[in-house]
Symmetry: C2
Subunit: 402 residues, 2 copies
């Protein structure tokens, strides 16, 4: 069975995602679709609009056959580790082709760029720019200009992720073939929809927070799940709602304890502390903390590491740069189940279809992640979600013939 791999967040699932999934299936002529999906926090350090179980259902209902959780420690990370985690999972699962959306749309352009970037001369240039206090993306953009390349290629976020997918495939000696589709009609940063049927996930989340209509941008059942969710819990998974928890944590940890938080750089803990002390909103907080070097996205990720109490030591204990240490099934279709059964014996890492108390420490870490994510929910929803982390089996879905 030929298998297609997709790396997604589905936050929430929208028409652009559906287009991507269908186009990729057509292009790859695969029989089975393997989806690696972020859990409760995204690569940009944001809580997901719907919990991972609901997002798994939506993925299955729209054509995914296997939904695998990208462990938090990879999902809420800089692009390189995010890509390494996702690609290693797809490799374990013997996926043949990865198809990702990019602004470029040209796989040869991106492969060429990846080759350029790893040249020692390029890395040297990069270091020089980073030393001036720039963030990695800004420094890369400037270095590219020095090498007579268009800097736009690398400042486009999906191109960047694509580059790291290509890099991970190379470093892992993965047999996966990378392909890319041009993203249509939207940029993930768009905050207002740009087309009558395709809008970025960000723009859809904004519409929803403002209680404006977003029906035309998502499949019907997505709107149904979102409405039901709000009717039940009466709150949104936005950073503003998590801010009291973040504030309490930052202000009750000493600077020394804050320094142990993953990705917290020397000195940054003091900025966090003083910003938490005087900010009335998360927006204010980020505005105070961020600098040229520490982007909003990076700061948001550190904030999620505070909420989930993710420590530097944990990153050292696991050789994350090698590969994701396990496969956690969130859901499957009948076809996905068959596929998994076929390849199961050849998979070198453990496959968890359920939480296991003696499982990998990173699997246990997901409990903390879910506890942090569920904290804003009223009861019994908070407890239900925490208990689901322990007790849920993968979601099974019988696909209708399309």
């Amino acid at each position: 069975m030929k298998a297609l791999g997709l790396i997604v967040e589905y936050n929430p699932f929208h028409n652009g995602h559906l287009y991507h999934l269908k186009q990729s299936l057509k292009q790859s002529q695969a029989e089975v679709v393997v989806v690696v999906m972020s859990g409760h926090f995204t690569q940009r350090g944001e809580p997901t609009i719907l919990d991972k179980w609901t997002r798994t259902k939506l993925a299955l209902e729209h054509g995914a056959d296997l939904v695998i959780e990208l462990p938090y420690i990879y999902s809420c990370q800089h692009a390189e580790l995010f890509a390494k985690g996702a690609i290693s999972i797809l490799t374990h699962l013997q996926v043949n082709a990865l198809i990702f959306g990019s602004e470029s749309g040209s796989i040869s352009e991106l492969i060429g760029l990846e080759n350029l970037i790893r040249l020692p001369e390029f890395q040297q240039k990069l270091k020089t720019y980073i030393k001036t206090g720039l963030s990695l993306p800004k420094a890369q953009a400037l270095a590219l200009i020095d090498f007579q390349q268009k800097s736009e290629v690398i400042t486009a976020p999906n191109n960047t992720l694509g580059l790291y997918y290509i890099k991970a495939i190379r470093e892992l000696n993965s047999p996966i073939t990378a392909q890319t589709l041009t993203r249509i009609h939207s940029d993930y940063r768009d905050i207002t929809p740009t087309h009558h049927q395709i809008g970025s996930a960000t723009s859809i989340r904004r519409l929803r927070e403002k209680q404006l209509d977003f029906a035309s941008y998502v499949p019907d059942n997505v709107q149904h799940y979102l409405s039901r969710h709000f009717q039940e819990v009466k709150t949104f998974h936005t950073w503003e709602n998590y801010f009291p928890f973040l504030k309490q944590s930052v202000l009750t940890l000493t600077p020394n304890q804050l320094r142990h938080i993953h990705d917290m750089e020397e000195g940054l803990e003091h900025r966090f502390y003083s910003a938490a002390l005087k900010s009335l909103t998360f927006f204010e907080f980020i505005e105070i903390v961020k600098t040229k070097r520490y982007t909003r996205t990076r700061i948001q990720r550190i904030c999620t590491h505070i909420l989930t109490y993710t420590l530097k030591q944990q990153m050292k204990d696991f050789e994350l740069h090698k590969q994701a240490p396990y496969i956690r099934l969130l859901g499957f279709s009948t076809k996905g189940k068959q596929y998994l059964k076929k390849i199961k014996k050849e998979i070198a890492v453990p496959i968890y279809s359920k939480f296991e108390a003696k499982g990998h420490p990173l699997l246990k870490h997901e409990q903390k992640v879910t506890a942090a994510y569920s904290a804003i929910l009223p009861e019994p929803h908070c407890t239900n979600l925490n208990v689901a982390e322990f007790s849920n089996n993968p979601i099974q879905f019988e696909k209708a013939n399309h």
Copy 2:
């Protein structure tokens, strides 16, 4: 100037407190009233109904001349350390008499009991009972019976505190004379008021939570402050409201990290974790965690240590059993100011009239305590209270002639 010392929580200030203050003044014929007051969490491990600044105002308006903060590390502790902290502060401040309320009303009875309790034979008996898994108060009551004493004396909470005041005075070689007044018409554990003008603080808090009338039990301005507070913040400082924060903390710390929390005994961390996972309310949580050995009060104190992230190490770093390491002024009357000026030079520990960044680490710990306490408040109240911790000067009050 003859000085009277009182050890209080004023949670909230009520007619019984007023009676105690006036009677004590009369009995001691003191000219100045020094009050040592718990900050934002009480000895029973509960958040205070009003913040410490408002409670300081109330104390001054009703006759206190100096209001000193009992540092968290003493206020939210078992009776022995609570007493040690408070008595050492009163000793530093050259107080002549301590007058405390008790169920017994007889200082000679309490002194006799304190003498008995420290006999090696008594301590031996006590150990035997504790080994059977009983809590300290229960074990003491049984040992007293073995020594032909009435166990009620020690199960009455204010007698117990009194015993520890007497013990602390003895151990500190303090020149303070202890006296006691019989508590009238109420037991702190009463949850419904027992008399038409005197009700326990607990019963008043319950009435208020149920939005029932409590006006007859408190001076007018107390009711005024409480109403204003609720109009502003629309929430109560009850454990139920802190439960989401407690839950998030317990579920995102590993058992090993929980074990570092002050007063957390080996094995208890697992009870905390599994209770936090399945409890929908704080009430449920406590019911699951408490045992014969771990009383509700002790569990509540551990919960505040989790919220404030108070670690065992901190207790080791400071020789708390010696004496409170500083005096922190929350407020004073003109007379209190004069008194302090007079004795200031003879005080061996630092006096802080304001937060000092280079002050004692326990002073800094109060920031965390306030951050934990303010976490449930909507903005800007949360930030205002946190900032007050840094920037407030003591509250000054011009006493009218009574």
